[in-house]
């Protein structure tokens, strides 16, 4: 077999593998989409033994937007949390990263080591204590939304690694030149470093924005029993796990589509920055 033929065979095999992989990767999402379109008359919204609906309809979507369901409310809850967390968490992370990257002060290494050790404790360990603290500020049940934002943002300073790694790559000579010209640290940070850090800012905000959509543990604990404060993850999970999921399966699919599509589009648009962030972070460690 000649070199060229070998090469061609290799290409073909690779294409075949990639196509199979793509099918596996997309299959669940295609199923999700198809089932969300199944009419309520067919299997009563439960699980059925076939994939293609016999009767297409938007029943499930209509239900989500009807007054019987609080889906819109849950959706807005999650959106509000995600937006606030994205903005506030990014600000906190940027501040911490700048300080740790650029300034040398007493206790700096202690702080970094201490946070590293703190990070080794599982987050759920402190759940009851956090719940109690939030309750003192009336941020549970009816006040769960600000409470969840507070919890996410409060401890976000510990996740500075990726951003600090990025700041470390900006030459310090730039700072020093500006400082010789009389610019204060604050000025250097706000007018020089930040404008140069657009990719990492977008990365930090994107990651922060995506996390609340999956938050089940704290969200269900803090909002316990108060359905108006649920986020989509808690509400959808209840639909799937509680016993009446039979009637809610297609509705879960429809809700899942409504959540997945916008988040995915946003992610794919900003994919470039995400890749930059994770690659930089992974290699820096």
């Amino acid at each position: 077999m000649g070199l060229k033929a070998k090469r061609k065979l290799g290409d073909t095999l690779t294409y075949a593998a990639l196509i199979i992989i793509s099918i596996i990767w997309l299959f669940p999402f295609v199923c999700l989409f198809l089932q969300s379109l199944r009419s309520y008359n067919e299997g009563g919204g439960g699980m059925v033994e076939y994939l293609l609906p016999k009767q297409f309809s938007l029943d499930s979507y209509a239900y989500l937007f009807s007054s019987d369901s609080k889906f819109v409310r849950w959706y807005l809850n999650t959106l509000v949390i995600a937006c606030f967390v994205a903005v506030l968490q990014t600000i906190v992370v940027l501040c911490v990263s700048y300080v740790l990257s650029r300034m040398r002060f007493k206790g700096r290494t202690f702080l970094m080591r201490f946070w590293l050790i703190l990070g080794m404790f599982p987050g759920f360990l402190t759940m009851i204590c956090l719940y109690f603290l939030l309750k003192q500020f009336h941020l549970t049940q009816a006040g769960a939304i600000p409470g969840l934002i507070l919890i996410s943002v409060a401890s976000s300073g510990m996740g500075y690694y990726v951003t600090k790694g990025y700041f470390d790559t900006i030459p310090k000579a730039l700072d020093e030149a500006a400082r010789i010209d009389g610019a204060s640290r604050a000025r250097v940070f706000l007018t020089m470093i930040l404008p140069m850090s657009k990719p990492i800012i977008i990365y930090a905000a994107l990651v922060a924005f995506m996390a609340p959509w999956c938050d089940y543990v704290f969200a269900s604990y803090v909002a316990f029993g108060y359905t108006d404060s649920y986020n989509v993850a808690v509400a959808m999970q209840n639909w799937v796990w509680t016993n009446d999921y039979q009637g809610y399966f297609t509705r879960f699919c429809a809700g899942g589509m409504l959540i997945a599509v916008p988040v995915t589009i946003l992610f794919i648009c900003l994919q470039k920055y995400y890749v930059e962030g994770v690659t930089g972070g992974a290699v820096k460690g």
Binding site: P122, A186, Y216, V240, A260, V263, I268
Partner: protein
Amino acid sequence: MGKEANTGKSKIGSFFGAIGQEFKEIGLAFAQGDWKTKVSFLIMGFGPLMRKQFLRGIAFLAVEVLFVWYMVGFGWRYLSDIGTLGTVARVMNADGTISYNDNSFLILLYGLLSIIFIGVFLFIWRMNIRENRKEEKLLAEGKALGTVKGDLHSLLDSNFDKTLLALPVLGIFVFTVLPIIFMICVAFTDYDANHQPPSNLFTWVGLENFKNLFSFGGTGLGSTFLTVLAWTLIWAFFATFLTYFCGMGVAIMINRKGIKCKKLWRTILVMTIAVPQFVSLLYVYKMFANDGLINSYLMKWGWISSRIPFWSDPLLAKIMIILINLWIGIPYTMLITTGLLMNIPEDLYESARIDGASGFQMFRSITLPYMLFVTGPFLLTQFTGNLNNFNVIYLLTKGGPQSMALSNNAGYTDLLVTWLYKMTVDDTNYRMAAVLGIMIFVVTAVISLAVYNMLPSVKDEEGFQ
């Protein structure tokens, strides 16, 4: 060894030396200081105020006032009870109503807070002494003291670190440090479903909970703990390395020279990162359920005669979880390795090819060593992350299938962290949950330390550069 002991001794020696030094300085500050400084020992910030350093003086004074106000009005009550965590939970009033008296939860939490406040207060008190001494020295040398404006400006310049870190550090203290210390203490109490404040008290029990975790037979959790720990480690190992190698394989395929539409392939794979996990994983869980799509189609096509118990057979459930985690994890590794693979100099491969190396040989002796070297730290964080990978387990099996052979509601696919979650939420068995949390910390810390020191990129920073 001897050397280590030596440095250890000298470390302890220098620690005590530093403390001695500190006391000496405080003593000197008092002995040599003027009356303003001496009053500052009692009334913080008095010296700076008298020397017209109003901002600093007021700040110190405010700290002292707040501290005294907190301790007298609030903290002292709780601090004095911290040895017993309360003695009387409820009292029956004359009119038959019940009023709550001691609340162990509050006593422990606010007691700890008071202890921490005392530490912080001592630190600031020391700062106050130092400030007085500095001012005296400056005045003695005939130099001018700083101005309020200068102080404020320094917060944006030389002290900018304090400005930026103040809120994050406070947030981490209140919502991470304090709760963790609290839960570590809970591990030494009997806080569980039978000892719930405010109607019941809980108290210190020493190491009883730890003994319970390591006792086998009877009601001890020993065998369950070992089962769960073993699966946690197996899971973390497979989840990390299988995804790593498969992800790298996919990245190599997409990077192949003749392959077109590279961006399309990547975007398809990235879908599983973009779609919130509770949508994708819950759906996949349902797909493989007994009455799910996969079983139904396999039945319809006559490939199987009875439904495959994907989630109720322990071994099968474990395999499924690891496989489905590949679906979630491969894209992530693929993204990270794609760029790195392209960084490997092409002439390395070129010369290997001339020497007649096969594709696999090149992978083993060029690609793999390079990738392991560069992504060592990443693999470590992935591993520790997988030890605590709550979502994949909980969204798929919720830790099940459960069994009578395992105590405390543990299931065969439970990780330590999902077990902890169940103990907290379902059983309100906080004492054991706290012990488990500490064990997770120990496991994570030991593995991180051991592996970190073995990493080639740590040992040999110059390699591959």
